[in-house]
């Protein structure tokens, strides 16, 4: 009986090990490429951060004037005006992809529409 129980424990342990291995083999392909991509991105950001330090106008009078002009009270308006055409482009693409909306589409009248109204 004990042997049998011991055997079951063994087989349970083996099942748990196989489950863990399976979970690892399922998760590894998901996380490893993402971890590598995050590492590459972090490295690129780090290298670019170094170039920010080399900015020739950041502490100059021109740099200050640029920042004043850029982050003026008009910043929101300028941003809105600059990106305004893009939602229109995407709306046109949606129209091309899905076709015109149902309320504009011309369709042949259904049989139900052709039925004479009954009182």
């Amino acid at each position: 009986m004990e042997l049998h129980q011991g055997g079951r424990v063994k087989s349970d342990n083996r099942a748990a090990t196989v489950g863990t291995e399976r979970a690892k083999s399922t998760l590894r392909p998901y996380f490893v490429p993402r971890f590598r991509a995050a590492l590459v991105l972090a490295t690129l950001l780090f290298l670019n951060a170094a170039s920010l330090l080399a900015c020739p106008v950041c502490d100059s009078e021109t740099g200050k004037a640029v920042r004043r002009g850029l982050f003026s009270p008009d910043f929101g308006t300028n941003l809105l005006l600059t990106v305004l055409p893009f939602p229109i482009f995407l709306a046109i693409i949606a129209l091309l992809y899905y076709g015109p909306p149902a309320f504009i589409q011309r369709r042949p009248p259904d049989k139900a529409d052709l039925k004479a109204p009954t009182r």
Binding site: L70, N78, T82, P85, I88
Partner: protein, 172 residues
């Protein structure tokens, strides 16, 4: 033989969005950077001081960032279209869609930025000029008409974008 419904829409939409993105890059690279005839906000902030040049450069950059986004979405749509069996892989339709997209970019951007909002003009020192109207007529309307003609040639006539074709093999 299975009856498959040909669907040109994914290819036309992807090509058009890529055309919008690449048209934006042509505008930005040729007119803003190489020829320097205008910048994004050059009618509001004339680039006559170094600070104004740099502020315009930032807004040019933001415009280019969104143009890049359009191109990236277009590329993703093209990739997905390529995986669909019912989408015909027609070169004429794709080139027509690119041209149509470029025309749409010029028309929409021209009307909004050059005429309605007066953010900039094609040749800034002239203000609203014949160049703006030619930009709309040739770069906008003509490109769209030529693009539509190529799209129609690619799908064998001026029909709807989706139609059943029993003999269709998936790739033209």
């Amino acid at each position: 033989m299975n009856a498959v419904t040909q669907n040109f829409r994914p290819l036309i939409a992807a090509g058009t969005l890529l055309g919008i993105g690449m048209g934006g890059f042509v505008d930005g690279i040729v007119l803003h950077q190489i020829l320097q005839v205008h910048n994004m906000l050059s009618a509001k902030l004339p680039p006559n001081t170094l600070a104004n040049v740099e502020i315009n450069m930032v807004w040019d950059g933001i415009f280019h960032a969104f143009t890049w986004l359009m191109t990236a979405i277009g590329l993703s749509m093209l990739w997905k279209a390529g995986q669909k069996r019912e989408v015909p892989w027609s070169t004429k339709t794709f080139l027509g869609s690119l041209l149509q997209g470029w025309g749409i970019f010029n028309l929409v951007e021209g009307i909004i930025d050059h005429h309605l909002l007066n953010l900039h003009h094609v040749v800034e020192r002239l203000g609203v000029s014949i160049a703006d109207w030619l930009f709309l007529a040739i770069g906008g309307v003509l490109f769209i008409v030529l693009g539509r003609a190529l799209i129609n040639a690619g799908r064998g006539g001026d029909g709807p974008d989706t139609h059943p074709s029993p003999a269709f093999s998936g790739r033209a």
